[in-house]
Symmetry: D2
Subunit: 367 residues, 4 copies
């Protein structure tokens, strides 16, 4: 992983700023002869697209993906796939305030400290708009996975908004796509709607916790010691805008357990090993066990709020700032498809890595 590229064999390079003419992703190392229709990618894009409910930014971008290369006669060719997304709703506005002042909690100040120059329009490269490119790349990854591991599934959902958690007893997979929060708990969705309306009207914002589960993938994914599956998922999720914590399986709560609670017992099932529980989140020693791979990440509340915050100008003068633009009261909502995309890219990369090192029928049989 280097600068704006991630992945070993399935490699994704993203580029573009929030208010430039376009942004996109170059997907390199994709297996050839995978059917790839723009619609499949567009479906992923549409899940992330802003302006779909009153809970997300009112910026209106069709986010249409153009495939400029790497696909021929509807199939991948094994050469780089360029996915381009035009920016169409960069409203002309007065950026003089944001050009001079650093928004607290934003990357404004660090981009300036590092580079000595920044495209301040809409956050430039540090804008969450960059995640559109990830989702497009993830759309490609999903199509490849569909070919290589039929029946596998990657699903993200929200498990906490602000301080309010879902009730795992009410978990319903079918509910996820029915509410604007991608949450599996219908009752939580109701409560959160009211909570978030309050946040929005107060000109404030709230954090969230997202969980992403990958099911149906084989054991053996992950390349210890420094490309462990959990470590690479941690990098992938932490690289998403506003993410401050990443957990695998039991996560931070693993510290609360004693050894006999934490060690998932093993038995033999009809199709191979089975586990009595999944505290490990489907990963032991950095390698997948064949169980569900479970990752969670926390998204901080947007720093772009209507409440005035103290800050300084480029000249070092004390001032205040209020961020008036179109923003998400809970960016965590749109982080759900982004987390899914990162999961898809990382897992596919490891499917290919494992096949490269070990072959198609890799690993040892049990029983």
């Amino acid at each position: 992983m280097s600068f704006n590229t991630f992945g070993h064999l399935f490699r994704v390079t993203t580029w573009g700023e929030s208010h430039g003419p376009a942004l996109g992703a170059t997907v390199d190392g994709c297996p050839p002869r995978i059917p790839l229709e723009p619609d499949a990618i567009q479906h992923c894009m549409d899940r992330r697209r802003p302006g779909q409910s009153r809970y997300t930014t009112q910026r209106r971008e069709p986010d249409r993906v153009e495939i400029l290369s790497g696909v021929f006669d509807g199939m991948t060719t094994g050469t780089p796939i360029q996915l381009l997304i035009k920016n169409t709703d960069q409203r002309s506005k007065d950026y003089s305030e944001i050009a001079e002042k650093f928004r607290p909690g934003h990357a404004d100040i660090t981009y300036w400290q590092k580079y000595g120059i920044r495209d301040y329009r809409g956050g430039g490269r540090s804008s969450a708009r960059e995640t559109a490119a990830r989702v497009a790349a993830g759309g490609v990854a999903r199509e490849v996975i569909r070919s290589l591991v039929p029946g596998a599934r990657i699903q993200g959902y929200m498990v906490q908004m602000g301080p309010h958690r879902i009730d795992r007893e009410r978990f319903d997979w079918d509910e996820i796509e029915r509410n604007p929060f991608w949450t599996p708990d219908a009752a939580a969705a109701d409560r959160w709607a009211g909570y978030l309306d309050g946040i929005r009207k107060a000109g404030s914002s709230t954090g969230a916790v997202i969980e992403v589960v990958a099911s149906g993938f084989p054991a053996g994914l992950g390349a210890p010691i420094y490309a462990k599956l959990d470590a690479e998922l941690a990098l992938a999720m932490m690289s998403i805008n506003a993410v401050k914590g990443v957990e695998i399986g039991e996560g931070m709560a693993a510290s609360d357990l004693v050894g006999e609670e934490n060690a998932d017992e093993i038995s033999m099932g009809p199709d191979g090993p089975e586990f009595s529980s999944n505290h490990a989140g489907g990963i032991l020693g950095g390698i997948s066990t064949g169980q569900d791979i479970v990752v969670r990440f926390a998204v901080k509340p947007t720093s772009s709020i209507l409440k005035p915050r103290r800050t300084i100008t480029k000249s070092g003068n004390a001032t205040q700032i209020v961020t008036k633009g179109r923003h998400d009261p809970c960016v965590g909502i749109r982080a759900v498809p982004v987390g899914e995309a990162m999961m898809a890219c990382v897992i596919l990369d490891h499917l290919l890595l494992c096949r490269g090192q070990i072959g198609e029928n890799c690993g040892g049989r049990i029983g």
Copy 2:
């Protein structure tokens, strides 16, 4: 990061198994003309060394580091530094049980599933003994940092053992080196001693949370989007044995906050920008702010316990296992110097990366 190497410019490759003749690390890309005495590295090794209190494994390894290359006349030469640590206490014992059965919660089963072969003696490559190589490499990184950023400091400590947290009001930096748990809270150290004795006598184990703080480093470290400083720290920490969660600054609790609580306000101090708080953990947009860089990670309880757990054999037969060897009731203790080592390697790598892309007096001035 690929297989057993991490880092972009300051690159560390580790090798070796728990019960082979030796293990070690190759440190490549080290700046030249840095004074490097074996004693400096040995000091780091000694902090991690087992057998120093009744709370860590009774395996007795002197863990002496030999520098086989890359140092001449007491100075680094810019060529690869080979750090070799001999394994001296691989007790001859009967491994037939562990060779046949998979220990629940261990990498035994996944190494088998992936590779179809495993060095089962002491966990082989998946043993926490591999972290000795990280600490040696971290020792080199620390000496380079001492030269490049005088006054910078990296310090780890335990903030939670099992369910018991420290009281931040009692935080005392000087206390950290005084107790066997590297905790800054003397009262917690007392309580944990009793708690851990109970765990140990019960043949069980407990988890822990470690925090590592890096102070005195400049703003501008981190290479967005996919080599963000926080993302790379997440990978680095998650790659440590038994780690299940990583947090930056506010971490998972960031989800509980509203925007105005979370956005650290900025003012102008005598030496540059100052922040009213550090919810961000010293990183915004993946780039360091100049504040303390704060990372936390959770270590699960050791799965090697004296309590019997259900499992299967390589042949798929149901059985039970009790792990009798010499083990740590709380591996989190020895994870403290490992976390420090990973922090040192990642930060140094980014110091060099930033210097490479931008130069020595990089970035933009404020004021």
Copy 3:
């Protein structure tokens, strides 16, 4: 270097096919605050552009570069620079023959053997049109070099066409831009014009040897052992379409010399060490000496010729093929700016790498 990316810190990823909607390059890791006008890149593009004389393909592409990201207010921002070049002259024609038959000497057969699918239109990804993206990226590299190493110069030229070599006695730097072959020997240019007309009229093609010289760069560039400057230049030049050999300094002829002839003697000049000769091509032990860096590469004759060649179809049937399209009788001509671009990218990458590892005032003084 991986798939479609090269470089360590200054990283170039190219994408696109000959007859798709566009192709381009993503330049990542570029230093910030470098003035970058599209015209500067366009100037490089125009040197490579086809259709400028009767000696190059009559395909007419304006090859206008659009900068889609990474530049703000005329300066680089340190974020990825997307350079897009639209394909405008993909004539609609009948590709059925080329779709079924493999052209001897072309990548047609190997792309099929590897990927099982290929975009046969105009050679797809294997077309020399891909080098337009390299030249665009090289244009960025040249602007950065202009800022970092004022006075440095990179110049390519042709030293052999078919079996006809230049006379080094007649070497004239100013002549290079005056003739359609970029050769420093005016007399050779005259002779080659006649020779190439004959080749062209015969429906044949001819090879060439290109030399690229980089002057004014500091000593110390190159990262032994496996990122030696000469080794990376070898990869860079050999990756250009149709290149079959790469030489540094004395090149293959080094084998003919005895030791005392080959070892360039050293003396002390007013600005540092001087050398009595440059058999080494400015590189010793993989590190630049401060002398001119001299690389040569041989370009094979285009395999697309009007003379019939025996081949097979995808079904394995024997057949013949004649390539009728618009082609270069000597692709070596347009390889000159491509070689310059690769030299610029590789050297800049090593300037940044060296600065990263060692700092701005790197290395040891002599005298």
Copy 4:
């Protein structure tokens, strides 16, 4: 490829200096369950070992390889393989002259210019002794290839010494292992013996050209555009000490041909496509065709000679130097097994890369 590591999936990192306690290689990404006996590696080492005839340096090193990790019960485990070679014949001698003066044609001056420090004993890291580590790693690669591609063969030999070339009409594969020059032309071996004796007695040295051929490998190896098989072979060979030129197939002479001579015609054979000739050296568009892969490289004459050469001291004073140590009058001889090792590593890496991206039965069928 970065600093001291090369390879994508089969990754080799070498370390160590000529006169340190040891040197070695870490081989990472090796497929698991490959039988690996030290003797197989030792066999490769013995071919490179010095002191076997009067034509190579009289330094006497047993060059015994110790396998410190990554092998269990005689099989690779998929974890890093550490290959350690002790330096046993570092004669104590007076290095004061070489410490102060730069040997012309050597890396002495560039290591100093770059790093400001150098281990001058025996050339330190820039010594050809480093190639012992490559040969050890290549020994591992050969064993893996033996498992994955039974019947494949990699063979190097000398085709030119000084200005004297072999006669291809007399090419005899069996002759290669019979003479001290690894040449397939017995008559050339005779003549070269006399020529080299003269060179040696004159205290001079001579260059050579080595050819390495890989037979029996499948089509489809190589990852265009920037990991083309020929480009990576060029890097691999150019990274060997003293190499100044690399050729694939026709090499530099490709420029002399016209198109119809150069394009290898294709016909259908019983096992797939066949080619009327192999000007391409088995690689088209950076991808292997299934033909013999043919690489040549030129080795310059050793700069360590008994004839005095003018140079300067670290203080910049003019002086002379005579290199008295034990040296090879033709280092090209020992470069033969080194070239084979690099070929083995690069090809194996691409076998794994191809399997990773495309799968085991990759590519398209013909016929």
